[in-house]
Amino acid sequence: MITVLLFAHLREQFGTRDLQIEENSITVADLRKQLEEKYEFLDTKSIMIAVNEEFADDEDVIQAGDTVALIPPVSGG
């Protein structure tokens, strides 16, 4: 099980603060793909992804028990 934390408008779009993903091991790229397939409104290309409080690359592997954060950049200032 992988926990995915959501922030900003993602939280409203998903209607929850976090998702539970049933995977033992998945790359960041595959997680992006899986989320886009399941949630059509999602454009993950421009969402930053951190695993266990560290920014991750697409080829990094997420393990069961890890915490993933989906970080939408916002432009307000």
Binding site: F7, A8, H9, R17, D43, K45, S46, I47, M48, A50, E53, E54, F55, A56, D57, A69, I71, P72, P73, V74, S75, G76, G77
Partner: protein, 337 residues
């Protein structure tokens, strides 16, 4: 009584750090909520020279969070850079404050970076300008501090050329849609927190405390009591066109941005004229033809049917009440063609 005594008592700054602050020059891009907060903190801290660039004027809806402005500034429709300078010079007359009422282009940021500049603060409301700051930062070896927030959510990160990943490493694909204060709202405390993170990092850099610079992106949601520091080191990309081995600085070298732009999250189109307006002539001409003009030395504004039109001395025109560039152009042609 020394006006900086409470700051020199803080040992990582001390008298030596205060002297470095007095000699420093900071560029603040944007004089909205983040720009106001950062400028005030750095001016109070005694930074020697501050340059502020902003393209907009003070509106009533800014007063909820933009701390350098008073009701009088909105009544007069002063450009933000000018209203900011007025207040800042009453706060600390020792600081040299330079202001530019303009929309930053590659040419202009190049000119600014050719002077001594110790740090740049991102107080913009759009990613296009952030990439311009990012590329200039790498090209001229000047650190910058990213900050953005909407609602109760905010982000900040410090970019040190040659050391940290750059903004493009972290975000290689700009979002097609992103939240701004104008679409999602924002509360004062989210701005206060983003500003505090940005100004703290600027003070560290300016006083030579590089070892204290935060090596992570700060993320918070102050309403939902969430707070994280996310390490960024891994994202440094050797192939990044801004900070990698073969650099092209795409934001600096691309053609000047299109002459017309929809202001992000606002029902407003900005048109760029090719030459400055002679505002006094224009205003008196429009008054004679029966228009109700409000003007000050920096801009003229008027209501035309359901559109509010603002003409800046530098040749820019804001057409409020539309997001359609074609419509905006046709309105402009009709009245000023």
């Amino acid at each position: 009584m020394d006006r900086y005594s409470r700051q020199t008592l803080f040992s990582p700054i001390g008298e030596q750090g205060q002297k470095l602050l007095r000699e420093a020059h900071v560029l603040i891009v944007g004089a909205g909520a983040l720009g106001c907060g950062n400028a005030e903190m750095l001016v109070r801290a005694g930074v020697g020279k501050i340059t502020i660039v902003d393209r907009d004027y003070v509106d009533w809806s800014n007063l909820q969070r933009q701390q350098l402005y008073e009701e009088r500034d909105a009544e007069q429709g002063l450009p933000k850079a000018i209203a900011a300078r007025n207040r800042l010079s009453r706060i600390n007359s020792e600081v040299e404050i330079t202001t530019h009422v303009l929309d930053l282009t590659p040419d202009e940021i190049n000119t600014m970076c050719e002077q001594r500049l110790d740090v740049m603060i991102d107080a913009t409301d759009n990613f296009e300008t952030r990439l311009l700051i990012n590329d200039a930062s790498q090209a001229y070896n000047i650190p910058w501090v990213f900050g953005s927030c909407t609602g109760s959510y905010g982000l900040s990160m410090t970019i040190i050329p040659g050391q940290t990943p750059c903004f493009r490493c972290l975000l290689p694909h700009l979002p097609s849609y992103s939240l701004t204060c104008d679409t999602a709202g924002v509360i004062g405390p989210a701005i206060g927190m983003t500003v505090s993170y940005q100004a703290a990092e600027a003070l560290k850099i300016l006083t030579g405390n590089m070892q204290a610079v935060r090596p992570s992106l700060a993320l918070f949601d102050i309403w939902n009591n969430e707070h994280m520091f996310l390490r960024v080191g891994k994202r440094k990309n050797k192939k990044c066109p801004s900070c990698g081995e073969e650099r092209t600085y795409p934001a600096l070298t691309e053609e000047d941005r299109s002459k017309a732009a929809v202001l992000c999250g606002r029902d407003t189109v900005q048109l760029r004229g090719t030459k400055p307006f002679e505002l006094e002539k224009l205003a008196s001409h429009l008054k004679r033809s029966g228009h109700n003009i409000q003007s000050n030395p920096y801009l003229a504004m008027m209501q035309l049917e359901r559109h509010r039109i603002v003409l800046f001395r530098d040749g820019r025109v804001l057409i409020h009440g539309t997001k359609d560039v074609t419509e905006a152009r046709s309105i402009y042609q009709r009245y000023f063609g």
